[in-house]
């Protein structure tokens, strides 16, 4: 009797505008592109809100009313929430209406959708704290289950997150961690004590996220009854089916004309037609289900690309250089503790900046190209590095100004 656990990731990065060397020292607005391009964050946000967030939320709300057993969970990135507050406050209200039903759980993540766990555990903890505060402020709830950026995961992360008080964590059900085992159970992770790991059923999840409208796919067209049958077929050899998807699947990655909204509307009803099936939220899963075994994940995994590793963000020299230069500024900025500079720095930690610099996509999959607002990965790198140079300059100037100020006071005291 599988329980279906739906988690939708909601995230919109703040894309860096075209920032040339000539901007350094004179332009402190890094994210305010106002052109007709996809670097215009407001434009993209409003587009996706109209195509996906509003209509999908309306459907989910309707489903919650129609089926008392239906449940779902969302993870809303801090950079998404920041943009929603600025560009579309009604969208926050729309999500609040879902949360207020009591059957929609919100998950924890890093405020800036960052790779901070890999580069700075201290910053990782700070960003979780920032996100927790934001969720509490906007929705009045406290997340209990954690999901890391892009489902990046390993043993150490599970251990770290357990130490922060979370009872559950999400990960990719990658073949190389599971081997012959099924993702449809709850697992313990090696090195962690009690935290439970929920693993994405990537076949079923990706059937919706990637293959839904693919005419080359033998199962095309995918209908709700067909998908519900696949779920029911798990009966007897699984506790839970984790459908983890980008929320933008609905209406943005799969456009409305593919029939994706009709699919979403009818899926819960079809799943519930089989009385053995039910829905469950991640925190319910954590408290109700017992682990059946242990997974050992010494290397990082993620939900990206066929490799399911970190290579989408950290593989070529420009990505590595950008990341190491970024985190090299952490001490200077935390020490200065200037909210504006620190926030600008954090906006640069968003994983998407490094995804845009990935050069794998020339040979491997067009997914990267589809999601890249820059003409080439090199353009993304150049603007990023120029911005970082400017930020460093601002920080150093501020530090100098402060030192001068302190010196001045010291002098005044001396002569007082």
């Amino acid at each position: 009797m599988p329980k279906v656990c739906c988690y939708f990731q909601v995230h919109q990065p703040l894309r860096i505008k075209k920032y040339r060397i000539f901007n350094i020292g004179v332009d402190g607005d890094y994210f305010d592109d106002s052109s007709e391009s996809d670097l215009n964050n407001r434009r993209v946000f409003e587009k996706v809100a109209g195509k996906c967030y509003f209509p999908a939320n309306a459907i989910i709300l309707e489903l919650l009313k129609q089926y008392p057993q239906f449940k779902a969970s969302f993870s809303l990135s801090g950079v998404f929430l920041g943009q929603a507050e600025k560009f579309s406050p009604q969208l926050i209200e729309s999500f609040k209406a879902l949360v207020d039903t009591g059957r929609v759980e919100l998950l924890s993540e890093t405020s800036h959708h960052s790779l901070s766990f890999i580069y700075s555990p201290a910053e990782f903890r700070r960003q979780i704290q920032l996100h927790r505060r934001k969720i509490k402020e906007l929705f009045g709830v406290e997340p209990k289950v954690f999901r890391n950026t892009e489902l990046i995961f390993n043993n150490n992360l599970a251990n770290e997150v357990e130490g922060l008080g979370f009872g559950g964590i999400l990960a990719e059900g990658a073949d190389h961690i599971l081997g012959w085992r099924s993702p449809n159970f709850v697992y313990k992770t090696k090195g962690a004590k009690n935290i439970k790991t929920l693993l994405k059923n990537y076949r079923l999840s990706d059937d919706i996220a990637f293959r839904f409208s693919s005419k080359d796919w033998s199962e095309y067209p995918l209908t709700a009854p067909k998908f519900a049958n696949w779920i029911s077929a798990i009966n007897g050899n699984g506790q839970i089916v984790n459908l983890f998807l980008d929320y933008e699947t609905f209406g943005e990655h799969q456009w409305e004309d593919t029939g994706i909204f009709e699919f979403l509307k009818s899926l819960p009803g079809e799943i519930l037609k089989n009385p053995g099936n039910s829905f469950i939220t991640p925190s319910e899963a954590v408290s109700e289900l017992e682990p059946v075994g242990e997974i050992d994940v010494p290397q990082f995994t993620s939900w990206a690309d066929t490799e399911r590793d970190l290579s989408a963000w950290v593989s070529n020299p420009i990505q590595k250089d950008a990341l190491s230069k970024l985190y090299a500024l952490e001490n200077l900025l935390t020490e200065l503790d200037n909210p504006e500079l620190l926030e600008d720095w954090r906006k640069l930690t968003t994983s998407d900046h490094f995804y845009y610099m990935c050069t794998k996509w020339f040979s491997d999959g067009d997914v990267h190209k589809y999601f890249n607002p820059y003409e080439t990965p090199y353009e993304a790198f150049i603007s990023f590095m120029n911005v970082l140079t400017d930020l460093e300059l601002r920080a150093k100037n501020q530090k100098k100004a402060r030192q001068a100020h302190v010196e001045k006071i010291r002098q005044e005291l001396k002569y007082a």
Binding site: F22, N316, I318, Y378, F381, I382
Partner: protein, 411 residues
């Protein structure tokens, strides 16, 4: 049965002034390795030996040999320059103008077409189009014209020579198929010459990576230059309006405002040379702009390897083989968006030729961020390995087959 091709060219390495000769050499070598028989015709005798390709000179009178220095191999010179550059005492032998020469080439082509047996005619660029047309007339065999460059590219669209334009247009109209070296060139042919797009095939040029010495074998001189802390930004090409040397200087000026330790090397010669030297002086950057003159072979490879970045700011570049040459020498490239090579070489930086701010921004990024240079270099060399002349030849053979098939159907 072997397909026999009668090919008309204008220049051939080492007697070439630019990409046309390089392309003809690379293509014919690859074609003959694929079991295609080629007679490659040049207008006049030069001292070239080739094992595989039969080279025929249209003016092959006994006792007449041409000293390469005298030989005005200048497919891209305007007729006026051609007249100016002509050496005294040659007029009586060669006729008075470039057009006379091209006309004579055409007449001689008739005899050659009668002398050889062949299945198809393949003519490279406008100077050889009249020869190709004549050969088609006397033999009745199909003609393919291969467009490496158009009058529109060479002039930047200003002061087009109407006679050259007419020769190009007639060639393309008469041909059974047109090969364009890029989609960019195909578009120019369709938009400006009004040729039916259905008969234009895009076949990109290539490069044979393994013909170039391994990059690790760097000379001591190069290492020393780098040790001195200088960066080198390179321009290779004719110093003429099409290649955008003036935009290169404007970008250089902007780069130097941010970083004085950069040398801008211009390798090439051309009608704008004096203008460019003067302009560098007027911009106050003469001490940072070096003129290396026209280089070829190992000297050219050395310059590529010495550079930190190769810039091709062409106003209109049908392909741009120099970008591939730079990559195989381990130097990343910045090309104008108005160049065909970027259709097949995507691991490059690009900028509009007129956007010298953007060009300077990207030059400085490569000079400032070592990882950018490294990533471009690693990825572009991988990509170039797949752009071999073998691939270009394979596509040409497909076109030969297609044309021959439909030709036999008609007969």
């Amino acid at each position: 049965m072997k397909t026999k091709v009668l090919m008309f060219g204008w220049e051939f390495p080492p007697y070439n002034s630019g990409g046309l000769g390089t392309a003809c050499f690379g293509l014919t070598k690859a074609l003959s390795s694929k079991n295609i028989d080629i007679v490659f015709v040049l207008p006049k005798p030069v001292n070239i030996k080739s094992d595989k390709i039969k080279i025929k000179f249209a003016e092959d009178q006994a006792g007449m040999t041409i000293n390469p220095q005298d030989y005005l191999l200048a497919p891209y010179k305007s007729p006026d320059q051609y007249q100016n550059d002509k050496l005294p005492g040659r007029e009586s032998v060669y006729g008075n103008s470039l057009f006379d020469e091209i006309g004579r080439y055409g007449k001689n082509a008739r005899f050659i077409a009668k002398e050889y047996e062949f299945d198809i005619i393949h003519a490279h660029d406008w100077m050889s189009f009249p020869a190709g047309i004549e050969a088609k007339k006397v033999s009745g065999k199909p003609l393919i014209v291969h467009v490496h460059s158009t009058e529109i590219d060479r002039t930047g669209g200003n002061n087009i020579n109407s006679e050259i334009f007419r020769i190009e247009k007639t060639g393309m109209e008469t041909a059974d198929a047109v090969i364009a070296v890029s989609n960019l060139t195909k578009k120019i042919i369709v938009d400006n010459y009004h040729i039916n797009p259905g008969k234009i095939h895009v076949v990109h040029n290539g490069i044979d990576v393994y013909d170039y010495p391994s990059i690790d074998a760097d000379s001591a001189a190069v290492i020393k230059l780098k040790e001195m802390g200088n960066k080198i930004v390179l321009f290779v090409g004719r110093i003429t309006v099409q290649k955008g040397p003036d935009y290169f200087l404007k970008a250089a000026k902007k780069v130097l405002q941010y970083n004085r330790d950069v040398f801008f090397v211009i390798a090439g010669s051309g009608d704008m040379e004096h203008q460019i030297i003067t302009e560098a002086a007027e911009l106050g950057i003469s001490d940072r702009v070096l003129f290396a003159g026209f280089l070829r072979g190992e000297e050219l490879n050395k310059v590529y390897r010495m550079a930190d970045l190769f810039v091709m700011p062409s106003v209109s570049e049908p392909f741009g083989i120099t970008a591939l040459e730079s990559v195989v020498n381990g130097t990343p490239v910045l090309v104008s968006k108005q160049s065909g090579v970027k259709e097949v070489l995507t691991h490059v930086l690009t900028a509009d030729f007129w956007d010298t701010d953007e060009m300077a921004n990207k030059i400085l990024a490569v000079l400032n961020y070592k990882s950018l240079e490294l990533t471009l270099k690693e990825n572009s060399i991988e990509q170039v390995k797949n752009l071999s002349w073998q691939e270009t030849a394979r596509k040409c053979i497909d076109i030969y087959r297609q044309i021959l098939d439909s030709y036999f159907l008609r007969v």
